[in-house]
Amino acid sequence: MKSVPVTIDLSPFSFLVNTNIPLVVDNLFRIYPDSIVSHGESIKNSKVCSYTVSAISSSGVRKIVKPQARFLCDQKEPFKPLAINQGYALLEWGMNWTVAAMEMQHVITHSAVLARENKAILFPAPPGSGKSTLTAYLVYKNWRLLSDEMALIQPHSNTVYPFVRPICLKNRSIEIAKKWFAADRFSSIAPNTHKGDVIHLSPPDPSWSEHKSPAKICGIVFPKYKAGSELKIYKLTMAEGFMEFASNAFNYGVIGATGFKTISNILEDAPVFEVEYSDLEEVKEFLEEDIIANA
């Protein structure tokens, strides 16, 4: 396939994606709404985008033997190539990398962001904590997705901007989420990645139609899934919350003082909890009744 440009007109950062992998094109058009994704003619004749990236197949013998997909941010290749059927997941991860590596005008933390009535809760958590399953469940229950991966916080404020993208689900959570959403909202499966089997889920339409509306940060919750566990809620002190939260910031090292002040200010008002759970509905009730209702 010849390389074609696809533009993803996301807010606040848009992408021009060059790709010669049919699977990547199919998934992009399946996941992103028509108002956001479109075919361009060539790099020189398509919409102006914040970032130019590529998802292309490796050349040489790799075209025939174990074909690979490569991600490039313009000319820079931050990762090793992956198998061709992991190409779309690689592109999504590459887009995350691009924003985390380049954007210094937001405080960017590694967390899911979900909101009710423009009251947002941040869910910073390491992989395996069940963050994405919880995210999928909350949007299924009519919460609005701002991001599954990163919170873009306006410096010196408690305002978080959406960066609506698909939710990245892994392994067992794929089957669970398939019960909640129609099949056409899912990407193809990227099998056997370093995170296991991975699928991307397009959030419901309300999240997309509000993809430019900021929300106010009202709480920070570190979710921790534990099979069979009853709901356990721990409130963290400001100091504990700060250490946990700041260690999740992508660009904290670069923006230094701005990041420190912004995060401290947020923690003055927003409570921080650690939540151990096995029942998603119980967590949702806690979030709605104890955080959103009091915000």
Partner: protein, 371 residues
């Protein structure tokens, strides 16, 4: 959209007012090219100096500001690292001279403004290196993983020891004992450089402006990789045009003569002048003329391309051939034939395999994976 090439970016530096004539579509490509050359922050400062920054489109300002924030952070970081190093290593009484990017930053010279770099280079006397290397490992600086061949290359032939990386901060430190590899037979008596240093305001040693210029151009013309060729040429341009009086030029020529780098100084004057219109005094040219190489037409072919902006959308025709010739020339300068022969077999074989099987064939498993 007008046709753009390397000259568009060069003119943008010489006449920053041109920035207001570019369309948004053109800017999209210009931003890519400037980022590719690590020049966004330097151009941001240039646009500010010429009062065009505020009139630029928000799209452009956004990318320029991102780069400025990173550059400002780096200036703070290098100051921090320099203090740490000085503190840890005072006991050796070794003079630690900060080179290239780190030196530019610490010196406070305009060449350091918005200049970004990936590692910190320092120069110190060879007799101290063994102790310093051991000491640094105790302070969290660990040698980067490399093949046995590369290890041997550094230890036997190079002018620096293998790079060390700080385990927590990720900063990379290159410790040099000369400015060119001794194996090249061109390494000067290093006292030429040690005698031309000054203390920065922050209390760290950097080269004087003349020595800084000479080192910068020697480094450039001894290189085999010109990815940042245009940025390096701009470094020279800035050094040669900021308060460059007659004393500066005569000292520079004198130092080049003592250290045997007159040929390189000639090339630097020639290409800054040809590409960036740098005003090099006519007497300097006259004095350097005898050191012109007889291969000048070939060198012109190579360097007029490699020292111009090189993003694929902007590179001048013939860039790839020039890059290949520059690669060969750089190796030939650095190593005598018999060493180059084995080096080529070792490294070239690997390159051929990578060309066939992809660039990550030899990559160690632990290198970056997407989050």
């Amino acid at each position: 959209m007008h046709d753009m090439d390397a000259n568009t970016l060069i003119r943008l530096f010489s006449n920053p007012e041109d920035a207001l004539k570019l369309s948004l579509k053109e800017w999209q490509l210009v931003v890519l090219a400037l980022r590719h050359q690590q020049l966004l922050a330097r151009y941001a400062i240039r646009f500010k100096d010429f009062q065009v920054f505020e009139s630029l489109h928000n799209y452009v300002k956004h990318h320029l500001i991102n780069a400025e924030i990173v550059a400002e952070k780096q200036t703070l970081q290098v100051l921090f690292e320099a203090r740490q190093l000085s503190k840890q290593l005072t006991k050796y009484n070794a003079q630690f001279i900060f080179l290239k990017g780190a030196g530019y930053s610490l010196s406070g010279h305009p060449v350091g403004a918005g200049r970004t770099y990936s590692d910190i280079d320092v120069l110190t006397a060879k007799e101290h290196i063994e102790n310093i290397e051991k000491d640094l490992t105790l302070h969290g600086w660990l040698p980067e993983k490399m093949t046995d061949y590369d290890q041997k290359y550094y230890r036997t032939w190079a002018h620096e020891i293998p790079p060390m990386k700080h385990a927590e901060r990720g900063t990379v430190l290159d410790i040099h004992h000369n400015i060119v590899p001794p194996v090249s037979n061109r390494a000067p008596d290093s006292s030429v450089f040690f005698n031309n240093v000054e203390l920065s305001e922050s209390g760290h040693w950097t080269f004087t402006k003349e020595a800084m210029t000479l080192h910068s151009l020697v480094h450039l013309f001894f290189n085999e990789d010109f990815k940042y060729g245009f940025r390096d040429l701009l470094d020279l341009h800035i050094l040669m045009t900021t308060n460059a009086d007659n004393t500066y030029w005569s000292k520079l020529v004198a130092m080049a003569k003592t250290s045997g780098f007159t040929g390189e100084l000639y090339l630097a004057c020639r290409y800054t002048q040809k590409i960036l219109n740098t005003p090099v005094p006519i007497e300097v040219y006259r004095e350097l003329k005898p050191y012109r190489s007889w291969t000048m037409p070939v060198l012109d072919y190579i360097f007029l391309r490699l020292l111009s902006p090189n993003h694929p959308f902007f590179a001048l025709p013939g860039y790839k051939l020039a890059a290949f010739l520059g690669f060969i020339r750089g190796h030939k300068l650095k190593m005598p034939f018999h060493i180059l022969f084995f080096h080529t077999i070792t490294k070239g074989g690997k390159l051929i395999l990578e060309a066939l099987f992809g660039s990550s064939l030899f990559a160690k498993n632990e290198i970056t994976r997407p989050k």
